[in-house]
């Protein structure tokens, strides 16, 4: 059975785990056994296990939702994680000191993957810090030669995360339609 994956990345506290939980069919459960059940090659720690989810599609196919551990910025695992991925969801925390710096960091770290696939950017915590605005993110991205979807996102909201992932798919192929 074919298996696919979407990668969620971003700094610590940007809402990766929460976003994955919002659309996953299986809740990340904290037990050690559950962690080892998810992926054999991962650390059997709670935090790692939390950043995993799965969407079960009709016909038995699965889309795995992987969150990169935010605190391990130079993790070699990122390269392995992105192999065969559909695309990247980048979540940014608007309350951090310099979210643009975070954005540049992650775009650079995943540049090859983005080049081969696509990225959609979700900005979280905008209810706490309204700046930078979405327009400012857009302008910054255009200066970097990119024009991806950038949405204000509440990672707890299924609808927000769902729209962000939908935008990622449409970026890859505007011709795709839901049946």
């Amino acid at each position: 059975m074919s298996q696919y994956k979407i990668i969620f990345t971003g700094p610590v506290g940007a809402g990766k785990t929460t976003a994955i939980t919002s659309i996953s069919d299986a809740p990340p459960v904290k037990t050690d056994a559950a962690a080892s059940d998810m992926t054999k090659d991962r650390k059997a720690s709670t935090t790692v296990a939390m950043d995993y989810g799965v969407m079960n599609l009709e016909g038995g196919e699965k889309v795995h939702l992987y969150g990169t551990p935010g605190q391990e910025r130079f993790d070699f695992m990122w390269d392995i994680l992105t192999q065969g991925g559909i695309g990247l969801i980048l979540l940014l925390d608007n309350t951090r000191t310099d979210p643009f710096q975070d954005m540049r960091f992650f775009l650079n770290a995943f540049s090859k993957f983005i080049e081969d696939t696509a990225v959609a950017v979700g900005v979280t915590q905008m209810d706490i810090s309204s700046t930078p605005t979405i327009n400012e993110y857009q302008a910054h991205l255009q200066n970097l030669g990119l024009n991806p979807p950038v949405f204000a996102v509440d990672a707890r909201e299924h609808n927000d995360v769902s729209l962000l992932v939908q935008a990622l798919l449409y970026t890859l192929d505007p011709g795709v339609v839901s049946e």
Binding site: Y4, T17, T18, T21, S22, I23, S24, D25, A26, P27, P28, V29, K30, T31, A33, A34, D37, M38, T46, M50, M55, N56, L57, E58, E61, V63, S130, T133, I134, Q138, N147, P148, P149, V150, F151, A152, V153, D154, R156, E157, H158, N159, D160, S162, L163, L164, V165, Q166, A167, L169, Y170, T171, L172, D173, P174, G175, V176, V177, S178, E179
Partner: protein, 389 residues
């Protein structure tokens, strides 16, 4: 945060650390579509216990002692068969959990039993008891999730109208598919917003309708009208009397804001977007030629905007190349009124432009859409899943 369904089951969670507790809480609201709401122990109708927790058996005994009639759901990697409990095997999936919870009819809140009371081993629950999950009947379909288009009360035709059998080559018919923004409330709002932004000062737009307050510093508007009222007013073509009674006056933002109902404030872009859609009613704005190429600057912030069907597909297409409005309709096979409402809204936000190609300009080839392939089938399935189809 998503509101819980009125019929949601009130549950208490046990054997979970704070993060797992929070995650389960979100999971019940999100993928489980609000089937259950996590509440304090005293208010719960159902107890959910992580049976893999070290002291799970003590927790179960404690729950039974305190509220013997309250149903208990056990989550575990191991298949459990414990009398008078419901079982959901890990990794938990939404359908399984939803099925079990939907069968647990709420029981009346039970007062804590005296500590001395013996644990009840056999007291039947009022809800149907379960054996292992394999013995349960097949799951009922989870409740329909919150739609991305839930604001579209009355369906799209309520505000997008129907453009039937328009011959876009016929100038007369083409005219009926367009609207003149100058004859609508929309144009006055756009002008007022420009003035407010230019002067950097809050403004009050007065008309024969309700006053509209514009705050450029926070990019908000204030209007004492609900969306239904606004939708109706937006679609009405205004007469000369309306224009004669329009005025724009500067106001002191701080003092005015203090006295206004907080729930009437709206994001400026969100407001203009929906006002444009409801004014357009599926027609394109005069000034935009459906036969000339248009270009889009960037993606609208769709999570905070009223969605139009196929809006994201149209956005993606227009960011990949330049197409005329009629080409967009044809290439993506979308309804003209969807395309025109989308174009109207983008135009009003200032992120869509149209330029007449110069005689010397070379026509750039349009990028081909990917042909139907295996990936497209996969993407369709993911979209179905995300939309809960």
């Amino acid at each position: 945060m998503k509101k819980n369904r009125p019929d949601s089951v009130k549950v208490a969670l046990y054997g979970m650390d704070p993060r797992s507790y929070k995650t389960m809480e979100l999971y019940l609201k999100g993928p489980c579509r609000g089937i259950a709401e996590v509440v304090a122990e005293a208010d719960a109708q159902v107890n959910i216990i992580d049976a893999d927790f070290a002291t799970a058996s003590d927790i179960l005994a404690d729950c039974r002692r305190k509220a013997p009639e309250r149903p208990v759901v056990l989550l575990s990697l191991q298949r459990l068969k414990i009398e008078n409990t419901y079982f959901v095997q890990k990794p938990v999936n939404a359908e399984q959990l939803t099925t079990v919870l939907s069968q647990l009819k709420p029981v009346k809140k039970v007062s804590p039993a005296p500590v001395s009371e013996k644990p009840s081993q056999t007291t039947p629950n009022t809800a149907q008891q379960s054996g292992p999950e394999v013995s349960r009947p097949v799951a009922a379909k989870p409740a329909k999730p919150r739609s991305a288009f839930e604001n579209n009360e009355g369906g799209y035709t309520a505000f997008l109208g129907t453009l039937m059998d328009i011959d876009f080559q016929d100038a007369k018919q083409l005219l009926s598919a367009s609207f003149d923004a100058k004859k609508h409330f929309l144009s006055y709002v756009l002008s007022a917003c420009k003035v407010a932004a230019h002067q950097g000062k809050a403004q009050q737009l007065n008309s024969i309708w309700k006053p509209l307050l514009i705050f450029p510093d926070t990019r908000q508007i204030w209007l004492d009208a609900d969306d239904k009222q606004l939708r109706v007013f937006a679609g009405v073509e205004q007469n000369k009397m309306f224009a004669a009674n329009i005025s724009l006056v500067p106001i002191d933002a701080d003092s005015v804001k203090a006295g206004k109902a907080k729930d009437k404030f709206q994001d400026l872009e969100t407001f203009i977007w929906k006002l444009a859609i409801w004014t357009s009613k599926g027609r394109f704005p005069r000034g935009i030629d459906p036969n000339l190429p248009i270009s889009l600057k960037y993606w609208p912030n769709f999570t905070r905007l009223l969605l139009i069907p196929d809006a994201m597909r149209m956005t993606s297409l227009l960011l990949k190349g330049t197409y005329t409005p009629l080409e967009v309709v044809k290439v993506l096979d979308v309804k003209p009124q969807y395309a025109f409402a989308f174009i109207s809204a983008c135009h009003c936000l200032g992120i869509l432009s149209q330029s007449r190609p110069s005689i010397d300009s070379v026509q750039t080839p349009k990028p081909d859409l990917p042909k139907p392939n295996k990936k497209q089938t996969l993407f369709s399935k993911i979209l179905n899943k995300l939309r809960g189809d």
